[in-house]
């Protein structure tokens, strides 16, 4: 006699489709640069230095920053409203641990859905994690910017290391957030 069993899952992780990213500006000049940070390790130093560098090199005019109250939670509604009211483009991260990387990727995807070009900064160790999150919303190839070894995945860096990382990733961030992508 045949045995019929029931599927215990919510379906495959990549069942969604049709995700549309936000339109990119030609460049960053005069824009308000958003930082959606999770406070992991010394990543805030990196984000601040990244923003300062892009202000100097690309003419970014202003910055809006949210540091979330825990590494792997959404921004509060008030933080979200304040951020989306002024950010023209945004970076999220640091994607340096399991829950914070996936949540930061979700932050970037949510910003895209709200019409704000975004990019998540992810350590290479966590790329499979954020790819899973991108597949979940139907955007498996969503571009990211990666940091690699020998830098520690969880953002345990010196201040100088964090500032050097900002300089290293700036070209890729510019590319992902503008029509250069």
């Amino acid at each position: 006699m045949a045995l019929v069993i029931l599927d215990p899952t919510n379906g495959p992780i990549d069942a969604a489709s049709g995700f549309v990213t936000a339109p990119r500006p030609a460049d960053l000049k005069g824009l308000t640069f958003g930082i959606m940070a999770n406070g992991l390790g010394d990543s805030e130093t990196m984000f601040d230095a990244l923003c300062a560098g892009l202000a100097e090199s690309d003419g970014v005019a202003d910055v809006v920053k949210v540091v979330k109250a825990s590494v792997a939670v959404p921004p509060s509604p008030e933080e979200w409203d304040r951020f989306t009211a002024s950010a023209s483009v945004a970076v999220t991260g640091l994607g340096g641990c399991g829950s914070c990387s996936t949540r930061s990727m979700r932050d970037a995807l949510d910003l895209e859905a709200a019409g704000i070009p975004a990019v998540c900064i992810v350590h290479s160790a966590l790329v499979p994690a954020v790819r899973a999150m991108a597949r979940l919303v139907g955007c498996p190839d969503y571009p990211i910017v990666t940091i690699d070894y020998p830098h520690n995945p969880t953002g345990v860096w010196t201040k100088e290391e964090a500032r050097a990382l900002a300089r290293e990733i700036a070209p890729a961030v510019r590319q992902r957030l503008t029509q250069a992508s």
Binding site: L3, C97, G98
Partner: protein, 333 residues
């Protein structure tokens, strides 16, 4: 009762089991085939409609229904009468401040302790005494496993996808035990949380660290000193989002409890003794303050069996302990 889950048909139970492995539906151990009849029986035992929503994981677009929970409870090996406890555990885990996404995606591999209070422990045979943390008790093993299978199969915490644990650990197969309320006149945990003595309640605590404290000294203060000294080796950072609810669970073993009871120590007195010592400022490399808002954030639970003079600390991940009433099929407590 109409169920909505997709069906798969097999010639034999062995083929069905192998397919569960192939589809990635198990924790690595064999599962019970979830037939529609078994799932319907589970739902009836809980008094729930298939589509009733038990909670969500917004970051993952996940909604957890009673039906999916029942399927996983069957697969875990639960008897139907366990289902109200499983439902309470799932609801507790999916409360916002239990932080499902963070506690199940973390590199650190947090586990989830399901602590059961009230008469349901006796009704279902949930062990609170000797060997209660380990194997050998169907209710403990399968209720804890059912929560974990829901986390895996419904909440998408699959290793390689959204479970990112660097090592993970055995507690992620199952971790459920009762409080040994009958061992003393200590106020049971659920009564401390505001429930009635004859209520049955599930408390879920994320577990980042499980710390054994063995102390053979008979003097209560020496026992408690060992507990806070072990706790301070791990420490507990402040998390603004979790806020003042973040707590440690201290499971007091039988031998320690006997010594404490002998000298008249209550749970309240124990927590009041431990709190200033756990929360004092950090003084050294291997000494770390625990950020606990009040003595009530030290949750004392009696459990375990006689023999070794031992207690255990359940130190949380980025979450607070959450609790839910176990409801009968009629909806009453």
């Amino acid at each position: 009762m109409t169920l909505g889950a997709a069906e798969r048909t097999f010639e034999t139970a062995q083929q069905a089991l192998e397919a569960c492995y192939e589809f990635g539906w198990t924790d690595g151990l064999p599962v019970v085939p979830a037939t529609a009849e078994a799932v319907a029986e589970m739902l009836a035992a809980g008094g729930l409609e298939p589509g009733e929503v038990l909670g969500t994981v917004p970051t993952r677009n996940v909604t957890v229904t009673a039906e999916k929970t029942a399927i996983n409870a069957v697969m875990a090996g639960c008897r139907a009468e366990y289902f109200p406890v499983v439902v309470a555990a799932v609801r507790a885990h999916l409360q916002t401040k239990a932080n499902s996404h963070s506690t199940t995606a973390t590199l650190a591999g947090a586990a989830h302790a399901v602590i059961v209070n009230g008469p349901v422990r006796h009704d279902l045979g949930i062990q609170s005494g000797q060997a209660c943390f380990g194997p050998g008790f169907r209710a403990n093993a399968t209720i804890g496993r059912a929560l974990r299978l829901v986390i895996r199969n419904v909440c998408r915490a699959v290793p390689g996808e959204l479970d990112r644990a660097s090592f993970s650990w055995p507690l992620r197969y199952s971790f459920c035990f009762g409080e040994n309320e009958e061992a003393s006149d200590w106020v049971p945990l659920h009564v401390q949380l505001g429930y009635q003595l004859d209520d049955s309640v599930v408390t879920v605590q994320s577990v980042m660290r499980l710390i054994q404290v063995t102390e053979f000294d008979a003097e209560p203060e020496k026992i408690l000193d060992a507990i806070w000294e072990h706790a301070r080796h791990a420490g507990l950072l402040r998390d603004e989002w979790a806020g003042d609810g973040r707590s440690v669970v201290v499971v007091i073993g039988t031998e320690h409890q006997l010594r404490l009871l002998h000298d008249g120590w209550t749970k309240e007195r124990i927590a009041n003794y431990l709190w200033p010592r756990m929360t004092a400022d950090t003084v050294g490399k291997y000494d770390n303050k625990l950020h606990l808002a009040a003595p009530a954030n030290i949750m004392i639970v009696a459990a375990g069996g006689p023999g070794i003079a031992q207690s255990w600390l359940l130190v949380p991940h980025l979450a607070i302990p959450t609790h839910e009433l176990v409801r009968s099929p009629s909806g009453a407590a």
